[in-house]
């Protein structure tokens, strides 16, 4: 992995994928590209690892998949969120916000420990 990129934990990748799919159905490559664009390539996901994550979430019933034609008329497998996936995303979002708020408080702290 290149310097400057951030290592991803399994659960983190799931949240990112769920968040991506919250905009609407998307194929695997689309998801990879969205992550790349949104984070300015800071989160260098090894793109292959997206697929096991997608399959696992499909087995859990968080996403469902469907073969469709792309704009330039190619067959691609599109993933979309299920209701339970949406609930999962909401739950993850709030815990992520809490976590990142706590982290930034620590990182921005100006007082030394007593």
């Amino acid at each position: 992995m290149e310097p400057g990129s951030v290592a991803l934990l399994q659960g983190t990748l799931d949240v990112i994928v769920l968040k991506t799919l919250s905009w609407g159905p998307m194929h695997g490559f689309g998801i990879a590209r969205w992550i790349q664009q949104t984070t300015d390539d800071a989160l260098r996901v090894e793109e292959g690892s997206l697929y096991p994550a997608l399959y696992r979430m499909e087995n859990r019933g968080w996403v469902r998949s469907q073969w469709r034609m792309t704009d330039n008329n190619r067959r691609a497998k599109y993933y979309s969120l299920t209701a339970s996936g949406r609930r999962q995303l909401e739950a993850q979002c709030s815990s992520w916000s809490a976590f990142s708020l706590a982290m930034s408080r620590i990182m921005d702290a100006t007082r030394q420990p007593a």
């Binding site: 194929h27 590209r33 691609a76 497998k77």
Partner: protein, 886 residues
Amino acid sequence: MPDAAQNEPRWRRYLRFWRSDPAADVSDELRFHLESRIAENLSTGMTADEARRAAAERFGDVGAVERSLASLTRERETVDRRVAWRQIILQDLRYAVRQLARSPGFTTVAVLTLALGIGANTAIFSAVYSVLLRPLPYAHADRLVDVREGAIGGGSMNVTAGNYDVWRHRSPQFAALGGYQYGAYTLTGLGAPQRLLGFQASSEYWRALYIPPLLGRYFGAAEDQAGAPNVVVLSYALWSSTFASDPHIVGRPITLNGNAYTVIGVAPAAYALTATAPAFWVPLALTPQQRAEHADHELAVVGLVRDGVAIPDAVRELSAVQRELARDYPHGEIDGTIVARPLRDSVVGAVRPLMLVLFGAVGLVLLIACGNVMNLLLARAAVRRKEVAIRSALGAGRARLVAQLLIESVLLAGLGGVVGIGVAVLGLRALLRVSPAGVPRLFDATLNAPVLVFAAVVALACGIIFGVWPALRATGVDLQQTLREGSRDASLVVPGSMRTVLVVAEVSLALVLLVGAGLLVRSAVALQRVSPGFDPHGLLVARIALPESRYPTDSSVTAGFQRIVEAVQSVPGAASVSLVSRIPIDALGMDCMTWREGMNPNDVSGVDANARGATGNYFATMRTPLLRGRTFDAADVPGAPVVVVINQSLAHRLFGDTNPIGRHIAQCAGSAPKWREIVGVVGDMRARGLGQLPPNEVYYPIAQLVRSDAGLVVRTTLPPASLAPAVRRAVAGVDPELPVSGVSTMDEVIARSMATPHFTTTLLVLLGLTGLALAAVGIYGIIAYFVSQRAHEIGVRMALGASRRGVSFMVLRQGLALAGAGVAIGLVASAAATRALAGLIYGVSTRDPVTFAGVAGVLLVVAALASLVPAHRATRLDPLEALRGG
């Protein structure tokens, strides 16, 4: 730019129309990704090579991802398959419901037949569970043993107070050894005086048979001491009836036999194992004299084996003590062994054969019912062959079809089970209404969880057992042939075909059932004919007790009874009034060792004989013949030499054919035998019950064997029951405080003694008739089927001039042939099965030829009747129509 889509062979898309191809899907998906990335890379100006390399690098290890996806896909497929199976079963279930709804006649008959079988089994099983299987209600039920002393000459006896006392101190492997005995008490001060059965029990009785008290406490060690205050523990039944469930009863005094007892506790209802459970418990409190008694076997003993000690080890320890006791007390009639058995066996052991016979019989009924339903299913299988063939042509595999049909039969059995629970509820209610007091623990049988589980298992097993064969039959057919043949069923009633085998089996099972029932009926008839040794008709009996407090001396008791006899004598219709210490059949006499003069009671063991006190006119009242000598007369009063009358059995046993009058016997000798002169010999009475041989009897003048209670026997020419109120009034006229209990006619006493065999007989006859009816339905079904299948042939025969009689006979012969085969097999099976009845029947052999022949005849007649309807129908066939139809 070449579109990669064109690289994909088009046919692959159509392949997926038939079924998904997960491996292809995975590689397609990943290829799409890589190609899209390459295309993007190319658009940023990379060379083709660079673009490919950059895409691969960014993607990672394609092979690893593919493997990971493959395993995730497999995981998913298992889940999908499970879901699919559930859907298939649901779909089959829906289909089965539709199929059953489509033929309501078949469904109703099958469900009702099964409900009858399953319901009857469930009801009987709930009785078996209640009586035999469920644990005793006590805290340590599995460690409880009933302990008795082995007797010289075999058998076992209750325990002497002295030996019991020694046991208690020398048996560390027993956590508790509870001693108890029955006592009869009169409860007064609360309305009419009540004669009640109580237990005298030690404190260890409660430690062994422990269930927490409802109120207060049980006896402690203090209550074991002689001279301890009079206290009493009430049974739930007495507390809830006589004391109206008074929550403040503890501490209140009650009057028993004229003495005040303080209530210290109330025992829960669970202590009532039998309908003749004690009404209360008072302390046993053995006196020093009682503790020195080593010859009088009075106590029942229950032992609680210490936790972790094996029951045989504890018994062995006690046996060592018993050997010493046998050596130290040679007059105790004990042989130095201990006879111990699990308490549950001693409570229910006697009724186990009876319960198992009923359970077996009801199982046979279920088998016959299953046979009938299986036959119906086989008939349906024949009808449904076309449907099955079509489904199979549409691609359903045989396993799938069998599964579908099995689901149908299990559903059928399930419905039968549900309706069967209703049948069981009614059956159990009826069973409990007629349940005799002699069967312990039956009275509180319910349809509880274990019973319902039993019903469910039975229903499921039925569904599978009778469903498998028809399902295999229905699906194992040659498809082409069936479709070509149309709806004609080629299979006829042929010897050895499953349907005939079933009917033959049903007939033989029904025969076994009926032979069993027949033997019991014959036994009941034989008992009916047995002469009890007295004339029971026209006798009224009652038990009367004179409380010690007001009749303290022997002479006051004798005078009291004398006044009662005189008062009853004046009742209009009372022809003869007499007293006997224990009324025969109603109660056992006192069992005693008896010696003839010239025998030394210290050396020789005597003959067992009952001791009863009686007035001189007792034998005349009973109409038992005086065979030799005289009975008691006015001279046989206290102070005069004690004389005895013996019965014929004892006379024969002790004196052979010689005349016993004027000779002497001694009873219950101990160290100083008292020799009494025999003045008379009377006929035998079946005093233990009609099914038992007459016991040896020794009668004493009741004035010389004084007891505070006695039986009153009244001979009348009127209907005896009509005298009861007048007799009660006459006794009350002598002393209104006297409890009169057990007022009944002698016929009623005898009927009560036969309640258990009567119960068994009734049930077995009911089950036998049910089996017979089911078998008749089975025969009818197969003969009707035979006629419908042979309609063409019968038409031909009639067209060729066969008479209606001939046709009718041909059909009848079919039915009789099946029944005959069933009867033959059933007779052989019965000869083996009726051995189970050996202990339950009286006066008939288990291979009684009359019963066997009679039942076989009944079955053949019923088979003929069941075949007559279809035979008649066969003669009504219009030959023309039959020929055209075929």
